[in-house]
């Protein structure tokens, strides 16, 4: 799984599990379908992150199989059939764990990099 950066660089492989974390985080706001999840990630990241749909669905599938999310067919706001994903209790626990882990890593990396040096 990889998340494509908006910048014109090529693929940059992100930390394993990042997409899973983002999906779970998105679902905390309520049930959502795939397209909604993808869009939410894009918008909330201010279009820095674009979800590769080829990765999204296998990730959803994986999360479903591991019992972090449930899925069922339902109807969207504008009456379209869509498969909605819901966060399970297990998923919620996983999210908490993953999120704190992620924050720990980010702050650790931040400490190493130091304050922004103006020009990247």
């Amino acid at each position: 799984m990889s998340i494509r950066k908006r910048a014109d660089r090529e693929y940059s492989a992100l930390l394993q599990g990042t997409l899973d974390l983002l999906i779970l985080r998105t679902l905390i706001q309520g049930p959502q379908h795939g397209q909604g999840i993808a869009r939410a990630i894009q918008e909330q990241s201010e279009r820095v992150l674009i979800v590769d749909h080829g990765s999204l669905y296998p990730a959803l599938q994986r999360l479903e199989e591991r019992g972090f999310i449930d899925a069922d067919w339902g109807t969207s706001e504008n009456n379209r059939k869509a498969r909605f994903y819901t966060l399970t209790r297990k998923g919620r626990a996983e999210l908490t764990r993953e999120e704190s882990e992620w924050r720990r890593i980010v702050s650790a990396v931040g400490r190493i990099l130091g304050p922004a040096s103006g020009k990247a």
């Binding site: 669905y57 059939k81 869509a82």
Partner: protein, 873 residues
């Protein structure tokens, strides 16, 4: 959780794209544009579906089936390749499986006793300095008195004893059966305890029964109980007649009980009474290591006891060194064949490796031809791992097909081996294709598949696809060519090693069969007579001396009739001989003593060298005379032995009257030993008891093939002695001689076959590599011819590479053989392991075949049409 179906997932993707489209429209995009953008943004729908698909299947299984189907189609597309590869592998795997089945039965299977590893023989090693033929000997028998002493003293061993097996006539049985000859073994009462086996019915002997008794007990084998007594429960405590004596059946052994060998059908008590003064009897000890004691402790204890006992003997009696070697029973049994079996196992492994090399070579050539196909697959997204896996699937399929064909071949091979070898190799009966052997064959197939599959698979997955497509695949050709070259050198080397090994054994066998046996075995029938009734001694003497021989001689075409207490090359059981003294031979117990009838030398075709043979005047009451052989005469140095006197059984004087030619008595590869022949009518030992007829070996020389005389001889025996039959081992002397060299013949045949197979395979390899390189260089050759190269130059160009490889291989094989043939030592007769002739001839003949194998495809190089070849690519 239920597995999602593919359709469900596709529906989800569709809904995603629709949702996205609506969203874009609501952002103000035109519907058409919005849809295109949504699709574009989603990316590769098929890839997403594929990834979903892969995530929910046991993918490798799926791919395996796919690869198998693909491989199968591939093989069917090139049947010639498939057939050659499968047959080559079948040959290698089949031969390996067959030999493994033999090795397993002979060397690996445990013997059918309780804790068989703890059963031991006590061996006395007689050094070469103490034997007349200067060959060390291993003596497994022991003097009975010494055995009894050892049995009493030892703390490390539980000891029992048995004697050589004997053949007796089982008188007509309840079912009205004919008298039959059966073989049995006298054993001491402790034997069952030592072996750890219980009788199936009844009981075993007690130590009270270890002495001669009017009505001795007998224990029957399960097979004999079934075959001769229809497994009757009422047989226990009934009596049966063996050689005319009554025995009471006290027990039946279970079917698995085979002691000391599978042919023993009955057991009688071994007389364990202390031998009378001056009498010497020997028995074969069998021991079980007591709990906690090991071989080395048992050996040193037994040696110490023996040392101490023999210290009390008068000096002239010490014959054997006191050192006792303790050896597991099975190791001793297979000792004569173990080195040969290991050599065969190595040889067959070579054949298998050569077969693999050939298949690798074939796969490399075929892989080159299919490079564009592979490049296409790679371009379509097959990963390197996937390509390797695909190639390995193909080779495993080949390997399994070869393995199955090989197993079929090995069935035949094992049958053939058992027919060829059963008389010469112990424990062969248990060989066959059973589950462990099948597992072995399959394991070998898969291992070899990986071996021959991995090289081409890795070779071909290297390099970028772009390069492959651009250059048409010739990019990495040089690396592949190098691999192929190495393979050819390796297989040539192995083939040369096998050829030299086989050559040594064949030459050795030819030398052996060229040995002058010293007698003329043609048209000589040898047989023994089996009696079912006790025979009156006088009648016996009469029958044997005169009338029987006269009537045999009256048969049409019979020219001479005689008998002896022993015949050359026929193993004897329980043979004893009187002491011969007053000869110049320094070692006691030698020379060998033979009692023969008057015409023996004529009947056997043994030439008289000096003096006279026996005649009618040499009868009872006349001065005793002896004929000696050439070897014995040699001990008299410059003196003429004729007229000299020797003593037999201490004080009977016998005058030497003649010298006859040496015969190979023990075996063709054992030098003749000194022998003394006495006329049977002046005899001392053998024929003086009622069992005599069971000891005597008759020979009839005729004008026709020996076997054609059997019916007539059988008729006379039946008329003369009611109830008597010819013994089973009736045979022409020619076949006796032939059989005596069975083991070396077997080795020569097997290694010869392996050598030939190896050479044929190596030739195919050389042919293939030459053929391939000629095909590869057609364009270059076309240019050369266009530029004026002569056919001769073209031929040498095409041959150069292959022949260089062959020469390298021959050199490597020659050197390897020089290191390896030392393991054939002990299997060779009359030549050393570095026999110059073999080491020259084998590589030379291989070189010749290599030239032929390379020349056939190389000729094509001279016929290349420049125009066509330039258009080739």
């Amino acid at each position: 959780m239920d597995r999602r179906r593919d359709e469900d997932f596709s529906a989800e993707i569709r809904s995603h794209i629709e949702l996205e489209t609506e969203r874009l429209i609501s952002d103000g995009m035109a519907p058409e544009e919005a849809r295109a953008a949504a699709v574009r943004q989603f990316g590769n729908v098929t890839a997403a579906e594929e990834r979903f698909y892969e995530s929910r299947r046991i993918l490798w299984m799926d791919q395996l089936l796919q690869d198998l189907r693909y491989a199968w189609r591939g093989l069917r597309q090139s049947p010639a390749f498939a057939i050659v590869a499968v047959l080559t592998l079948a040959l290698g795997i089949g031969a390996t499986t067959a030999i493994f089945s033999i090795v397993k039965a002979v060397l690996l299977e445990p013997m059918p006793y309780y804790q068989p590893d703890r059963l031991v023989h006590l061996i006395q090693n007689l050094p070469a300095t103490m034997t007349i033929d200067a060959r060390p000997r291993r003596i497994v028998a022991m003097d009975l008195e010494e055995f009894l002493h050892l049995q009493k003293q030892t703390t490390t061993l539980q000891l029992a004893a048995y004697d050589d097996r004997r053949e007796v006539t089982l008188a007509g049985t309840a079912g009205g059966n004919e008298p039959v000859r059966i073989v049995g073994t006298p054993v001491s009462a402790a034997m069952l305890q030592v072996l750890g086996v219980q009788p199936l019915r009844g009981r075993f002997f007690t130590s009270d029964e270890e002495r001669p008794d009017p009505e001795q007990p007998v224990i029957l084998s399960y097979a004999a109980w079934r075959r001769y007594f229809a497994a009757s429960e009422g047989l226990l405590n009934q009596t049966v007649q063996l050689d005319g004596r009554l025995y009471r059946v006290i027990g039946i052994m279970p079917a698995s009980f085979e002691f000391p060998d599978p042919v023993s059908d009955f057991w009688i008590p071994l007389d364990m009474a202390h031998p009378a003064q001056g009498e010497i009897r020997s028995v074969v000890p069998l021991g079980r290591l007591k709990d906690g004691s090991e071989v080395s402790a048992a050996a040193s204890e037994a040696s110490a006891i023996m040392e101490q006992l023999r210290g009390t003997y008068p000096a002239e009696r010490v014959l054997l060194p006191s050192q006792i070697e303790v050896v597991a029973v099975k190791d001793e049994l297979v000792r004569p064949v173990r080195p040969a079996l290991l050599v065969l196992m190595i040889a067959v492994a070579f054949v298998l490796l050569i077969a693999c090399s050939n298949v690798v070579s074939l796969l490399l050539a075929r892989g080159t031809a299919r490079r564009s196909e592979r490049a296409l697959r790679a371009a379509l997204g097959a990963g390197r791992g996937r390509l390797i896996r695909q190639a390995l699937t193909e080779s495993c399929l080949l390997g399994l097909l070869g393995g199955i064909a090989g197993i079929v071949l090995s069935y035949g091979g094992v049958q053939l081996l058992r027919n060829l070898a059963s008389d010469y190799v112990p424990r062969l009966r248990g060989s066959g294709i059973d589950i462990p052997v099948l597992v072995f064959a399959l394991a070998v197939s898969i291992l070899t598949s990986l071996l021959f599959g991995l090289i081409p698979a890795v070779q071909f997955s290297r390099g970028s696809h772009a390069e492959l497509i651009k250059t048409g695949g010739s990019g990495k050709a040089s690396a592949r060519q190098r691999t192929r070259s190495l393979i050819i050198v390796a297989e040539t080397a192995m083939a040369v090693v096998l050829l030299i090994g086989g050559g040594l054994l064949i030459r050795s066998f030819l030398k052996l069969s060229g040995v002058d046996v010293g007698f003329d075995p043609r048209n000589v029938l040898a047989f023994q007579v089996a009696l079912s009734q006790p025979v009156n001694r006088n009648m016996l003497a009469e029958t044997m001396t005169e009338e029987f021989q006269t009537r045999l001689k009256a048969l049409p075409g019979v020219t001479a009739v005689a008998f002896s207490n022993a015949l050359p090359l026929i193993p004897r059981n329980g043979f004893s001989q009187p002491r011969i003294e007053g000869t110049p031979i320094p070692i006691a117990g030698i020379p060998e003593y033979r009692e023969v009838s008057r015409e023996y030398f004529a009947a056997m075709g043994i030439r008289l060298l000096d003096g006279r043979s026996f005649n009618d005047a040499d009868g009872p009451g006349r001065p005793r005379v002896a004929v000696i052989n050439k070897t014995m005469a040699g001990y008299f140095g410059n003196e003429n032995p004729i007229g000299k006197t020797i003593r037999v059984s201490t004080d009977n004087e016998v005058e030497i009257v003649g010298i006859v030619n040496d015969i190979h008595d023990q075996a063709l590869n054992v030098d003749p030993r000194p022998q003394v022949y006495l006329h049977v009518r002046q005899a001392f030992a053998s024929f003086r008891n009622a069992q005599a007829l069971n000891w005597a070996y008759f020979v009839v020389r005729g004008e026709r093939a020996a076997e054609s005389m059997i019916p007539a001889v059988r008729g006379i025996v039946g008329q003369m002695i009611p109830g008597a039959t010819l013994r089973l081992n009736v045979a022409g002397m020619e076949s006796v001689v032939w059989k005596s060299i069975g083991r070396p013949r077997l080795y020569a045949v097997l290694l010869g076959i392996f050598g030939i197979v190896a050479v044929v395979l190596a030739m195919i390899g050389i042919y293939g590599v030459t053929n391939y390189s000629v095909a590869q260089r057609t364009r270059e050759m076309g240019i050369r011819i266009a530029l004026g190269a002569t056919p001769r130059e073209m031929l040498s160009l095409a041959l150069r590479h292959s022949l260089m490889l062959a020469i390298l291989g021959i050199g490597a094989g020659f050197s390897a053989a020089a290191l390896l043939t030392k393991y054939l030592e002990g299997m060779l007769f009359g030549l050393t392991t570095m026999d110059t002739m073999t080491f020259l001839l084998a590589p030379a003949s291989f070189a010749l075949t290599a030239v032929v194998a390379a020349w056939i495809p190389a000729r094509r190089a001279t016929r290349v049409d420049p125009l066509i070849s330039l258009r080739h690519e």
